[in-house]
Subunit: 665 residues, 2 copies
């Protein structure tokens, strides 16, 4: 065992030099660009960075005890990795004589400056008795592992550290679950002890990657393209239609702030204020009650530019993602393909198509129009009447009868859409409720239009265009899940299919009253330049300058060119949407004072990062997420407060009991 030389010991007690801290000589030096994770602290190295080149160096490590083996070995963990420590077995007196002289000088020196040198027996006792997950600091000598004992799976697997001194900085009591990646624990337990779950390599990786990606985005926006990071208020007032905004009582009786769903108004006002290029990693709030995989607070990369058009924003975002995309998931190619909303709806039945696989919706109206089947003709005669189908390749082999039945039921219950299934028998003939209406020629035409092969299953729907497409789009995704569950490789998990969806309708009929219109996205979206005249004559037909960014079937961003003309904005609010424009009077007035043409976008950061790390839930990329009921299970929020605490805000709680009693009186 190597004993620390006086020189090394002197080195250890030298004052720390911050960023200029002298690197231990002769060893592995991190790349010039890599951050120094050991500056300003009491360690020399992290638990992930020691290599064969460090052998012979004295190092100080801090970390958590991952496990301990029979008082001989201990594995120490920190955020960067694991290092094997060798617990000293020899006693103080057992070291060789020539070295003990050195040790004597060293120990005298250390005692003089107040650092006692420890006996090995003491170190052994400390390290052998400390429970798993206790926090320790050790100093020792990096040594090669004995031949044959190297661990190629471990980045530090060539070395071990022979411990000279040790200190238990904090003990750990019995854990509710082990900090090992392979240990399964319930979501509720993970949330309650979130600080323990954060020690897992998965969450460490997710949060660090998130930080890194955001930092790269900032570099791209600020340092490369002159964007200004501006913080906008989160205490504002309710926006029209802001039914999902949290309220914050103020000290003025009856008046409330509101936590905005996005900085939309502020970023437009910044453009009017001449900021030219704005971005913010913006905290946003949305009170939707209980919804799976939604969070009451979430983060978006919020961007706005003046003097820009739709293509400008799209190229910006492509560059942004390319620049910030982590190497482990890259590279990505740009420009991203583009598809109109109508195309997406027709081919995929959704405005966020997953283009990683085929099974597109096929229009079979023309084929069916030639059939002499009354109810088909009937459906096709309606204004938006259509007949469409998807073909599930080899569906007979991979889908059970009950799968097909449940698909049909789902279409019925979710979309009120009847589905007819058609199967291609081994002899090429079709099996379906429909076949009795079809001649051989018609069956052949159907097979050809759908490119149907033996054992394929076709799901066919006729009716209103949007409903048929939506139902088949949903069945397409459910069928894909079923095929994959049955072992078919349909979607490459490493594939990255980015897609711009453009030319959305500007307005949609209100669900509760289809004769009235509401904004498809928000009332500030500009109409498509080719449709401006339609705005005043037939607003329902106007396409917008809204664009969505879709990745593998997930909407990861959306934005638009905004209305910059006050009169047009007023017309949209008052005449088309029939909204009270008073609540937006500040924005309408601002548009009259020289508002530049402008547009922007917001990327959903939580979703984007979860797609990058391949996590099914955004909760895995948020440090302290809320449960799907909006609760913090660790700190127990929200919580009751006393009536005295409510007093300054002039509110009180309407308890159900109180209500009942009030009714009685």
């Amino acid at each position: 065992m190597a004993a620390p030389s006086v020189f090394r010991l002197l080195h250890r007690v030298l004052p720390r030099l911050g960023t200029q801290r002298a690197r231990l000589s002769g060893g592995w030096v991190p790349p010039a660009q890599a951050p120094d994770a050991n500056s300003f602290v009491a360690r020399t190295n992290t638990c992930g960075e020691l290599r064969a080149a460090h052998v012979g160096q004295e190092v100080t490590l801090c970390g958590w005890i991952q496990y301990q083996r029979q008082g001989l070995f201990l594995v120490l963990r920190d955020f960067q990795g694991l290092t094997q420590l060798v617990i000293p077995q020899d006693e103080w007196s057992q070291v060789q004589t020539d070295r003990s002289a050195v040790r004597h000088v060293a120990s005298e020196f250390l005692r003089y400056i107040g650092i006692p040198l420890q006996a090995h027996s003491h170190v052994r006792k400390l390290l052998s008795n400390a429970p798993v997950e206790s926090v320790v600091r050790v100093t020792g000598i990096v040594s090669s592992r004995p031949p044959g004992q190297e661990n190629a799976k471990m980045p530090t697997g060539d070395i071990e550290v022979k411990v000279e001194t040790a200190e238990v900085l904090n003990f750990c009591k019995k854990l509710p679950f082990e900090i090992k990646d392979f240990i399964k624990k319930s979501e509720a337990l993970r949330m309650q002890y979130r600080y323990l779950d954060l020690r897992s390599s998965q969450l460490q990786h997710n949060l660090r990657l998130r930080s890194h990606v955001v930092m790269r985005m900032r570099e791209y926006l600020c340092n490369h393209h002159g964007f200004v990071d501006v913080e906008t208020p989160t205490l504002f007032k309710r926006t029209p239609g802001g039914a999902k905004e949290f309220l914050v009582p103020s000290r003025e009786v009856g008046k409330f702030y509101s936590l905005p769903q996005s900085p939309q108004q502020f970023k437009q006002l910044l453009m009017i204020g001449g900021l030219d290029r704005y971005f913010q990693v913006a905290r946003c709030y949305r009170d939707e009650g209980s919804r799976p995989d939604r969070q009451p607070e979430f983060t978006q990369i919020d961007i706005e530019m003046s003097f820009v058009d739709q293509a400008g924003i799209q190229r910006l975002i492509e560059g942004l993602l390319q620049y910030s995309w982590p190497e482990e998931r890259g590279p990505i190619t740009t420009p991203f393909p583009s598809m109109t909303y109508e195309e997406a709806l027709a081919a995929y039945g959704t405005d966020k198509p997953d283009t990683r696989f085929g099974m597109k919706i096929v229009d079979i109206s023309d084929a069916l129009r030639r059939w002499d089947v009354r109810f088909v003709q009937n459906v096709l005669s309606y204004p938006h009447g259509t007949a469409k189908a998807i073909c599930i390749p080899q569906g007979v082999r991979y889908l059970k009868n009950k799968d097909v039945e449940s698909l049909k039921e789902a279409a019925k219950s979710q979309f009120n859409q009847e589905i007819v299934d058609v199967i291609c028998r081994p002899d090429g003939s079709l099996k379906s409720l429909l076949t009795k209406f079809l001649g051989e020629e018609q069956q052949s035409e159907l097979k050809q239009v759908l490119n149907m092969q033996v054992d394929d299953v076709v799901l066919l729907a006729a009716g209103d265009h949007k409903r048929v497409c939506s139902a088949l789009g949903s069945l397409r995704l459910e069928s894909a899940d079923l095929l994959e569950a049955a072992g078919v490789v349909l979607r490459d998990p490493t594939a990255l299919h980015f897609l711009w969806v453009v030319d959305f309708p500007l307005f949609l009929p209100k669900e509760e009253n289809p004769t009235e219109l509401e904004s498809a996205h928000h009332p500030f979206t500009a109409p498509h330049p080719l449709d401006t005249d339609l705005l005043y004559s037939d607003p329902a037909k106007v396409r917008s300058q809204h664009y969505d960014l879709v990745l593998n079937g997930n909407e990861i961003g959306g934005g638009s060119i905004r209305i910059h003309d006050a009169e047009q904005q007023r017309f949209v609010l008052e005449k088309v949407l029939k909204e009270d424009s008073e609540v937006l009077s500040h924005l309408l007035e601002a548009l009259e004072f020289g508002a530049p043409p402008h547009g922007g976008i917001a990327l959903g950061l939580d979703r984007l990062i979860s797609l990058i790390v391949g996590s099914p839930s955004i909760r895995d990329v948020i440090a302290f997420p809320k449960s799907f009921k909006g609760r913090d299970l660790m700190g127990n929020a929200p919580e009751y407060v006393t009536p005295e605490e409510l007093e300054p805000y002039h509110i009180h709680v309407s308890w159900p009991v109180a209500e009942t009693e009030a009714k009685k009186n």
Copy 2:
């Protein structure tokens, strides 16, 4: 006048190339590191970047009309500067023959691809009639200004742009105030039309500098020192003593979220979660009602590290500020000096001393102890009895009698502290109420202790140490203001006096009941290592590991090493502070599961930036600040909401009238 060549016109209609956009050749190229502010948009240059080297180039600029002179010139403004435009005076037909041939080809080409070339008369009409602050896009040729007409004060003063085509993108109606830096406008008007005030060069500069400084901080923390940017929740629950926290009603009856004053608990939990190095540019909330220059939401640079001590955090912050400090205000030297709380109180009467000037508090107890004056002896005999003074150099010359009187009154009303003034007459004798008690020798001793010169004014106080120091510290600052108002240069406005104040008391007597203790800062602060034993015997005497960072007399940051031992934390909460520790049970439990030693700091970003830009108010470094009453004067927040909007949150407003009626019944 130069006519655009076909080549240039072709160039103009080429598709934009994003970041790879071809720079106009032969001209000024921004430094490789400078951001490209013209990527993705329709302009070729900003209004601040054209120089003599650009002469002959065709450029497209977008901006606001700053002013227009007699239909001849127009000054265009954007975020980067001003450019003079020459409005074309010649008609279409007036251009020279050789050029008109070129123009004909060009115009035919442009008409072919759909871009009409404008007649100069049309351009002149457009630009002459557009009101100030209208938004225009112009294309033209950069030309040298005629000799003698260069403007050396204007960065673009060597050139002007001869406009060829122009488009008014938006008109501006009559403004509530002019966008000129020299125009004075009321704070309320500026706040109501914040988007217009944002166009001022001062606010543009402040917000851009803020963005730049924060970006540099991020580079230092993330890229240089391995910090992880982690977002923590803002919807949490009330913390003990969190009387200033905004409440957010939840959909669960009677339960409220709370908007935290800082991410304190979360950052400690992140350390327990092994994150090791955390930072966040964190939005924080504090409901203090009406207080000048406080904002209900504000931003702090929030930092926490594991395995660090006080010196480690201090060196980190010094490096951070040095790295991010804007060149225009730099350089700053490190390390910053340090002073204990007791030293600061004794010499400056405050925990945030302005060390840019002297006039320090001098202890004259020893001198006075030798005086045979009963009331002085009486005061000095109390446990914390003291006599102290400050000396205002040349006070007789610069302070009026009423100034001295108002200083004395302020000490009386704010600190209940009597002040005696002493003046040094031209003959060296002292004039004071006290002199009748003093012999010549005693007067001489007083002059010597205070280094008193002819015409100096001394303010003298005797009584309780802390009260005397606080009163004199306050008078010191007020006297400095008076001296400066009288023309004395006391504090160099460019000086940067950073100072660490350390060794604060851990606890303070509660104001309402001085026999009980409360945390001087917060209950998670660790005791000073030398005072740990005192914690259990005489907690009032314990110093803490809290540190404040002071700049020119302003607290710009504060932090501490935290308690990482669960038992110690429990003792502080339950035995010393007598708090219900149940509400912090998650944190106490977390400390038991292997919490590493850790500490951190938070810098007040708004105040820091306002000091950097030399602005008296933090409102000048916030894009959309609230008024001192917490109101958004532009959007009119907070605002009334309907009872229906309150229903999901099970609350209703206690209107004063309703209260009155309730009392009647």
